[in-house]
Symmetry: C2
């Protein structure tokens, strides 16, 4: 395989830098060829033992989405109570999902039983199949950004609610519930950084050498 | 922000398609600016509640690596026993790591206590911080491919061994132990597919609509 050109490398760094968690969507539909490219990108993720544990549930039905949205609202009320004072007020002002207005909802799942109980590479790290599925999510998220399609990961919902509403069988775990659709703006920075929720950590503080906490000699 | 051009999109799809799990490495070092770009790409991953739970442990010390490698060998012997007959013989022939010969080992960890116990978006899905860290791994993996740098994820090692050897404090979990370095070849296809270990699943079999198992009307 040939090397990547400087222009190609820059495109890849650009999409990594400009990917955002989107919560504001337009409702115009995603063209079918675009959606197929996004799902293909997801399915090209690395997977432990090549088990390809993922499935992709495309959710357009508004009744299903309303049920999901009610579960979000309940979980979000509970979550809000865990913050206090000004922090709680700030939490309440954040828009944290676009379940009803986005063109599409997408649940990416992990079938833990795929190809049988013994999986190469999962033998002593049992969560590797969950992590493979997350790699598929990140592939799709980056590809979507390049297509001008916004993606937002809704984690404020109980997994049991997703399992029940989406009728997932026992060995299947919902990993990511995503809102997917065109958006009027990809913010220049992560919204929680802009809002002052938490500060960006300097990368150099996060790098150690040969063991935890060891700075370069 | 401006839209991505067709050439940029193609570069992004190319790197997603051509990323490989690499187990054969040359030992020539990775230039410092390249390594800095890879770590920056990782740190631009999405993170739940903007908690940025990752750390990056660069492991060059050969004594540390030899200890890690011994743990791999022990775990791999145990793993081999889980397969039978020809499958076991095939497993034994696979090269599954490049711990000693790669330019660099890199452990990406998740500090579950970062910024305190209550994290926006992790309140009812407690593993979201682990998943954020996996997104960082995938970002780095794609950026490395674009730089011509191979990455291989070694999951055949007990997390407890990694914690002990790398002196990780209690709330810190090792997510990915990666071999990183230049390689003579990025294979055209995943090695486990080429070796006939498991077949590639057709994408269309993995897509459902509005609920598990439902095909398009």
């Amino acid at each position: 395989m040939t090397a990547f050109s400087k222009d190609e490398r820059e495109a890849i760094y650009r999409v990594i830098r400009e990917r955002r968690d989107i919560r504001r969507f337009r409702s115009d539909p995603i063209a079918e060829p675009v959606l197929e490219r996004l799902l293909a990108a997801a399915s090209q993720a690395p997977s432990v033992g090549y088990m390809q544990p993922w499935n992709f549930l495309l959710i357009r039905d508004m009744e299903v989405r309303r049920r999901i949205h009610r579960e979000f609202l309940a979980a979000n009320e509970e979550a809000k109570e865990l913050f206090e004072g000004e922090r709680q007020a700030q939490y309440a002002r954040l828009k944290l999902e676009g379940i009803l207005e986005s063109a599409l909802n997408l649940c990416i799942t992990c079938d833990r039983s795929r190809f049988g109980p013994v999986v190469l590479g999962r033998t002593c790290q049992p969560d590797m199949d969950l992590f493979s599925t997350v790699c598929a999510v990140q592939n799709l998220w980056l590809a979507a950004r390049a297509e001008g399609v916004g993606v937002g990961w809704v984690s404020i919902i109980r997994q049991e609610a997703l399992r029940r509403i989406l009728e997932l069988p026992d060995p299947v775990v919902p990993i990511a519930y995503l809102c997917v659709g065109y958006t009027d703006a990809f913010p220049a920075e992560p919204e929680l950084k802009t809002a002052g929720w938490l500060p960006q950590l300097p990368l150099s503080d996060l790098v150690f050498h040969d063991g935890w906490g060891r700075r370069k000699a």
